[in-house]
């Protein structure tokens, strides 16, 4: 597996710049997990200011507002755990380059949520992030400097 990891540079070296982007995004998500874990799970920040902001946002769809106020806010600690877990899945997957394609789709789903709840001034950032995730999924960024190359060599298919 380790041999395949480095071998990938030789055979799919043209994906190397994408791998750097992937690893950087992985680091970004792991960093986010560390911050959110302290704030929401340990409980310092209690519950996210983002939701208060979101509920005061005029552009938010009414069904999403209902979901926030009826489901997510009353059970915030469970949802916070799930969100942090998903962020960790994205972070670890991007850093080691494992199951990058399906995880990218998961990351797009997370970003769509951020896009809805965060203030308008951060919209452009999340749109760019979505574009990055789609690019990573498109090229199969886990195949270079990632474990996906090992499985791709043996199994082929769309998952790697």
């Amino acid at each position: 597996m380790l041999q395949a990891y480095f071998e990938s540079i030789k055979y799919v070296g043209h994906l190397l710049p994408m791998s750097f982007l992937r690893i950087f995004l992985g680091y970004f998500y792991i960093d986010l997990v560390l911050k959110d874990w302290k704030q929401y799970i340990i409980g310092v920040g209690g519950y996210s200011d983002v939701f208060v902001e979101a509920l005061n946002k005029a552009q938010i769809p009414s069904w999403y507002r209902l979901l926030l106020s009826e489901q997510i806010i009353p059970n915030w600690h469970i949802y916070a755990f799930v969100i942090i877990g998903l962020q960790l899945v994205v972070g670890v997957s991007y850093v080691i380059g494992y199951v990058v394609r399906p995880v990218s789709m998961l990351a797009v789903f997370l970003c769509l949520n951020y896009l809805t709840v965060y203030s308008v001034d951060r919209e452009i950032f999340f749109k760019l992030l979505i574009a990055c995730h789609i690019m990573l999924a498109w090229v199969g960024a886990g195949r270079c400097l990632g474990l996906d190359y090992y499985f791709f060599k043996r199994r082929r298919g769309l998952w790697w």
């Binding site: 310092v44 519950y47 755990f81 494992y98 399906p102």
Partner: protein, 344 residues
């Protein structure tokens, strides 16, 4: 697909195991910690927060953790949503308008004060308020440079043609000082006169900034000749900039007073420690820190003696009131109508 599912399950499994292993340690730390919700200017390194925290932690076993709030209404909304899950033990920066406008959205604890705390006389009913404890205050007026050629000694003088577009004011919808000015006008003049005055004043205004700091920035950059601010602002320039060219204007109308309160939400986790923190804020040492860092007056007597604040004039002030929300809404709506008709 199988790889993906196994990977997700593994990550969540590891996270759950980590959570259960560290939960007890976290609880022990949290038992000795109080969470204080305060504005960014209070907890900034140049604000009173860090010194208060250090002093309180020296005197007690409890640790203080500040949580920054950007807006009081949003902070209260957040505590209200969180309900029992809220970690807020103390909320700082509640002014007399917040007390009636937003604070009633959640339940607050009555605060037992240390015996022997003697509040300054100017605080009136604010000193005996059970659920909110005042920790600083200051009269508000217009601040100008000593070089200002126009003589101003009343609200009417502000309508002088030389001051057209030269006064920096705040938007009463978003700024507490802005609302103070509005309340001052309505308290000093009868209904129709107040509306007429506000109409004329809106021509004198350079702008209505969304916050006090934005309007004060305009004044400091010489874009306006006067700004509605705290009478303690000239002391700030004297101490920090060694500049004695600023003065606060005393008007024939008594000045409005801004008071900041601390409160303990009913959902507090370390309620007794929170009460200790608020009583600590009323100690002479803490009051001195708040005065010197926040540039507001202390709520207890004798603290400002032998400091730059001692030289401040004793201003004639309006009695402190907790206005009804309907009254405040009416004033704000009147102001909005006037601004609308001004075409802005």
């Amino acid at each position: 697909m199988r790889h993906f599912i196994v990977f997700v399950v593994l990550v969540f499994g590891a996270l759950t195991a980590f959570y259960y292993n560290h939960g007890d340690q976290v609880k022990n730390i949290e038992d000795k910690k109080i969470h204080v919700y305060a504005s960014s200017s209070f907890i900034a390194k140049w604000g009173p927060g860090p010194e208060l925290k250090e002093l309180f932690e020296k005197q007690n076993i409890f640790k203080v953790e500040f949580v920054e709030i950007s807006d009081m209404a949003m902070a209260i909304q957040k505590i209200s949503f969180e309900n029992d899950a809220s970690v807020a033990d103390v909320v700082l920066g509640i002014d007399q308008f917040d007390v009636t406008r937003v604070a009633n959205k959640i339940k607050w604890r009555d605060i037992e004060r240390n015996s022997g705390v003697k509040f300054v006389e100017n605080l009136g009913p604010a000193a005996v308020e059970k659920t909110f404890v005042p920790y600083d205050w200051a009269p508000m007026s217009f601040v100008a440079r000593k070089s200002l050629k126009t003589s101003v000694s009343s609200l009417k003088d502000l309508l002088a043609p030389e001051l057209k577009n030269k006064i920096a004011l705040q938007d009463p919808r978003t700024s507490s000082p802005g609302l103070q000015f509005l309340a001052w006008v309505f308290e000093s003049k009868s209904g129709e006169d107040a509306i007429k005055y506000l109409k004329q004043m809106s021509k004198q205004a350079h702008s209505f900034s969304p916050s006090w700091s934005a309007s004060y920035g305009l004044f400091k950059n010489n874009q306006s000749d006067l700004v509605f601010s705290y009478v303690t602002s000239p002391v700030y320039h004297l101490v920090e900039d060694k500049d004695d060219q600023f003065l606060s204007i005393e008007t024939t109308e008594p000045l409005p007073v801004q008071v900041e309160f601390a409160g303990i939400p009913q959902t507090c986790k370390n309620c007794e420690a929170a009460e200790m923190f608020i009583n600590f804020m009323l100690s002479p040492e803490a009051q001195k820190i708040i005065m010197q860092k926040n540039y507001m007056l202390p709520v207890i007597a004798h603290v400002k003696e032998a400091t730059a604040f001692d030289a401040l004039k004793v201003y004639k002030t309006l009695p402190i009131k907790f206005y009804e929300q309907s009254k405040l809404d009416k004033w704000i709506n009147t102001w909005v109508e006037i601004r609308k008709n001004e075409g802005i």
